[in-house]
Symmetry: C2
Subunit: 200 residues, 2 copies
């Protein structure tokens, strides 16, 4: 039986971007299926009383140095200076709309949105730019544009974010293998070992 990894992320999280670039390799190495779950970290932080890392004293400085260093280590493109944190609502909704049609399309769109923002420096806070990225994947702009306004899609994002909090998710990226939680892109080796061995 193939195992699932649920991959929680916010498009506004640079560590989420770094993790997203590694998901195909994780699937190839372990034979897992990756379930892509965009969430809104702002909602999570209100629940936990946390702040975005970039706004935390010292932590923010570290992030600005660590993310480019981590990207170099992974051989991942990163647009510098890094784009500012942004409202990822439109992008996250677009992914859930796409998932209703085809989970593979959803992950392709998520990867493309991440790359557009973090590797190319295109502002994915703007719904128009999300539509452009989607169009490059042969998604119909008008369909997606109305889909992102669909109350069912909006509600889906709310429910997924609430569900993530209920499952203990407090950051991005965050991985669940079954109920086993792993926080941070630096834990991907542990995620892979857990998938391969069934745990330790």
């Amino acid at each position: 039986m193939r195992k699932n990894v649920t991959f929680y992320f916010d498009f506004a999280s640079p560590y989420g971007y770094l993790a997203a670039t590694q998901m195909d390799q994780l699937a190839a190495d372990t034979g897992c299926d990756v379930v892509w779950r965009p969430i809104l970290l702002g909602v999570v932080f209100r629940a936990t009383g946390s702040a975005p890392n970039l706004q935390r004293p010292l932590v923010g400085d570290y992030l600005l140095r660590d993310v480019p260093r981590f990207a170099r280590r992974l051989g991942v493109e990163l647009h510098l200076p890094m784009p500012s944190p942004f409202a990822s609502l439109a992008a996250a909704r677009a992914v859930y709309w796409a998932e209703q049609r085809d989970p593979h399309l959803a992950s392709s769109l998520a990867k493309a949105v991440f790359a557009a923002h973090w590797a190319e420096g295109r502002d994915m806070a703007l719904p128009e730019n999300v539509l452009d990225v989607a169009a490059s994947l042969d998604i119909n702009r008008d369909d997606l544009d109305s889909g992102m306004q669909d109350p069912a899609v909006k509600d889906r994002l709310r429910r997924e974010t609430d569900s993530a909090i209920a499952r203990g998710v407090f950051g991005s990226p965050f991985f669940l293998v079954g109920d086993e939680p792993f926080w941070g892109v630096d834990r991907l080796p542990q995620v892979a070992d857990w998938l391969r061995t069934g745990g330790w």
Copy 2:
């Protein structure tokens, strides 16, 4: 020329303990010298407006699950249930007192204090217990007892903590290779690679 790693930690940090168990291997693998620098995370958190992870919603639950799992992965003994957070003032002062005599003695004492607390469940908040551990390393109890009250030793701990904050340290464990910062026990593979390669 041998390279230095400055290893900042608080004895009250379970991730600091896990990292401490890996320092001999890091030195063997990379030929580095490890400079052991106990600090007081409480002072750091006042400067950054943070709270101990154990007290942060969801983060605390994750820590309680992650630390034993990480210890199993490393093959490191851990006393369960884990001891509560504690005031590590006496233990930290003891290390700086020992360092004045011999840096090697300081690191031996630090490793012994960590193990006594986190592997054996002995409460290292109590100066008496720190003295017991020191005595097992043939440190004279009376000398250390008065040394821990020495204003110069107390001041040293304050200065090291302030210096850590000034260098961007916001958590435990935290490593500096030159000025290059790495946060977290899960970054030890990157620390080792940085030492081996001179950076990337």
